[in-house]
């Protein structure tokens, strides 16, 4: 039981570290793009379509990372719930582990779904529509 608990705690620590790094990257990339955008706007520099599209990639990156942060938070919550329950009752080791596994699978599926939803036309998404604008 102790080994299982230690292993799960290490996993949550690693995941939380990844989450912190991702949040820092999101903040830093946002700051960079806002600075560049302001500079371009204030100086009326000529921009082509590719540059403006490239500027939008930060938004896509942030959305993608946000979705993985949400997944990490869900995993962290479920593992903590399980390890706490394990402390209270060692008898749940196997049954509880099955339930934990199911919850982690759900978190993964939700994260994958968000990846697709937040990709748009970027990153070669399979779901992307070739025509970027559709009128109804």
């Amino acid at each position: 039981m102790d080994n299982t608990k230690k292993l799960l705690e290490s996993m949550t620590e690693i995941l939380n570290h990844i989450k912190e790094v991702q949040e820092e990257v999101m903040d830093l990339s946002k700051e960079s793009v806002v600075t560049i955008s302001n500079y371009l706007g204030e100086n009326n520099l000529p921009l082509n379509d590719d540059v403006i599209k490239a500027l939008q990639h930060q938004d896509i990156i942030s959305q993608q990372l946000s979705a993985t942060v949400v997944a990490i938070e869900a995993i962290d919550k479920n593992i903590k719930y399980y390890t706490h329950a394990l402390t209270e009752d060692a008898g749940i080791l196997t049954d509880g582990f099955d339930k934990l596994h199911k919850k982690l699978v759900i978190s993964l599926e939700e994260a994958k779904s968000k990846k697709s939803a937040f990709s748009g036309n970027a990153m070669g998404s399979d779901s992307a529509d070739d025509s970027e604008i559709e009128f109804f």
Binding site: N44, Q56, Q58, I60, S125
Partner: protein
């Protein structure tokens, strides 16, 4: 000049739309939340000729916002374009049922965005 309202919870997305439309004869108003945008519409502070909104936003998403403004007499027929990373037909159909004008997938092509605004506002 026609007023175009952009709503997106991403500061960088708003910066991109501002740069992309800088050369157009429009008055751009930007909001980081649909709730804020709804508030200025309700108060009469801003009466947009066109609204371009993101879909996935906290508190109030683009479809919820659309439903709200379609319930107001003054914005019942205001054209609304959804600018989003989402490409699901199901969501497009929901928007269409609520009177959405069109769907633009991010990252947008600036020339196409300008063309869409020109078409909707009949600027050409």
């Amino acid at each position: 000049m026609p007023i175009v309202m952009f709503i997106d919870d991403s500061e960088t997305a708003l910066a991109s739309t501002k740069i992309a439309t800088a050369s157009m004869p429009i008055d751009v108003k930007q909001y980081l939340s649909a709730v804020d945008a709804l508030e200025v519409i309700n108060s009469g502070e801003v009466m947009p000729d066109l609204i371009i909104t993101d879909l996935n936003m906290p508190v109030m998403n683009g479809l919820e916002f659309l439903k709200e403004i379609r319930g107001l007499a003054k914005t019942k027929k205001t054209p609304v374009l959804m600018l989003t990373t989402e490409t699901k037909d199901e969501l497009k159909q929901q928007g269409k049922a609520l009177g959405l004008t069109g769907w633009i997938v991010k990252p947008f092509n600036p020339t196409q965005l300008q063309a869409a605004i020109t078409r909707v506002l009949r600027l050409g």
